[in-house]
Chain length 316, copies 2
């Protein structure tokens, strides 16, 4: 089966479609972090996106791409994280139903957020099997359309709109660095850069402790994530065939960071920039800090992907 | 002795003087906080100011107001907090010496920051007596000019530039609320509003556990702070005769907040706005949350005064 990759024009269409709904997030810089790294970094702040994460872009594009007949069926997904909240809010904005399968162990604050956006929650066990099985039942019962968090051209195209906005603020970059979990953000980014600014190198940043993308990229074979155990809880998922395909073709390198490096980078952004990012967002700066020579005197775009952290369980 | 109050024109001059050096900080809004409070709030984000606090405005204005002969003598102050860092950086920018007296118990990160800006630090005990005595010695030895953190027309005028910027973004406000410690920020704000937009009411927000300004305001007599014990560590100081005088004339009311209310407001801003503010900054939102009827359907400007927190000792 030939996989269909998104193209720049899909991202451009996504942008028109979602523009009325999303926040145009700021691009921030920090003199003190530039001094520390020896590079010049432009941070695209998706922690200020609605629902606190870039996921709202992809979910909104997917939902507003549906025909009226499709939309009337409602949408469904399984997620304990940002995609659940993103899909629920996007569905609310279109005025359709959303069905979210969440592990009953999810933090209360996340359950309340998803419920607050009007979603119907079905609880499951926290295993992937239980999630998928429960979702299957929900979809059969409701006839809702499953919107996958990243293995979906509409979702990837939506995520790509963030780097399109970044390029409008600063386009003479040497590198764009984004974290990789399932691959939605990095693939959206790579899709834009590949066609629009091929001279910019796209780098994926991944936790050492969840390095399926790194191993897949280096060996040329799709490896699943095996017992991932990282503070970067948005990056636990494995690549899909679609996102792996795009990464092989359009991403220049994958670099991993240790847990200590991730926490150090997260703390640096909190302390120096006074903004709240989640650990997954810190992985990109972590690889810059641990590869200073490589990025020295370079101009870097870094995607800060989200700001949803549990303040009762901080790593410092 | 007649106290000389700053006037709007002093703030306007301050603005011209400091503009090349300060950050033009953003004014942010939060739909979810507006929904919770029932009011419409515009947050002036001085947590994004240089050194992470509005104090940089006043210190910069004071230092760049000096004649060359005065400046050549250097500047001195005693502070364990934001004024120390602000004065040190402003002195560095003017290319003059700064002498900072700090309690030896100050957090290491603060000592390093002040040292990083090129200040010469003299350590003292953490009592007010030890601070003042040590400062006295330093001033005698160095002939440096003492720049008081708030009992100074130049400093107050500098702090007032923040609300001047706020009014340029949104000027049809019903209230402006700023926290009060020594009174530099609230007096700068009141100076601007009193002449420029007298229809806006200026409210000072103070911790219940450090309510010297509240008691002084209500009784008409200057009361010192007695054993203040609040998480809002930027608001421990007492008013001076100058700031008390301005407050009596130009501030409409002072409202206090409990420690729980301050922590709740701080957490709300962290979680909903994804920005880092220090506890002192949260007192203004705290009084809105605990006086919802009074502020319902009103348009409020809130000064978020700083973002310097010790991440190892958070109240949640």
């Amino acid at each position: 089966m030939e996989l269909q990759f998104p193209a720049l024009k899909d991202v451009e269409l996504a942008r028109q479609r979602i523009q009325p709904y999303i926040n145009l997030t700021p691009v921030l810089t920090s003199r003190s972090i530039n001094r520390i790294t020896g590079s010049e970094i432009f941070f695209k702040c998706e922690n200020f996106q609605k629902v606190g994460a870039f996921k709202f872009r992809g979910a909104t594009n997917a939902i507003f791409s549906l025909s009226d007949a499709e939309a009337a069926r409602g949408v469904a997904t399984h997620s304990s994280g940002n995609h659940a909240a993103a899909l629920a809010l996007a569905a609310q904005l279109r005025g359709i139903k959303s069905y979210i399968v969440m592990p009953d162990s999810s933090p209360n604050i996340k359950k309340l957020a998803v419920k607050g956006y009007g979603a119907e929650i079905t609880y499951c066990k926290s295993t992937l099997e239980s999630r998928e099985e429960t979702l299957q039942r929900v979809v059969e019962k409701t006839d809702a359309l499953f919107i996958h968090p990243f293995n979906d051209v509409r979702v990837i195209s939506g995520q790509g709109t963030a780097s399109m906005e970044l390029l409008e603020v600063v386009d003479d970059l040497d590198y764009i660095i984004a974290p990789v979990g399932g691959g939605g953000m990095i693939c959206g980014t790579a899709t834009v850069i590949h066609e629009k600014k091929p001279q910019i190198k796209v780098i994926a940043a991944e936790p050492e402790n969840a390095d399926d993308a790194y191993r897949s990229f280096k060996t040329g074979t799709l490896h699943p994530s095996v017992n991932p155990n990282t503070i970067a809880d948005g990056l636990l998922t494995s690549l899909s065939p679609l996102t792996f395909g795009i990464i092989r073709e359009k991403v220049h390198d994958i670099i991993t960071a240790s847990e200590d490096q991730i926490v150090e980078a997260m703390r640096m952004i909190w302390e120096r920039m006074k903004i709240i990012i989640e650990p997954s967002s810190a992985v990109a700066l972590a690889i810059v800090l641990s590869n200073r020579e490589r990025f020295k005197n370079k101009r870097l775009g870094i995607m800060l992907t989200g700001g949803n952290v549990d303040l009762d369980h901080l790593p410092f």
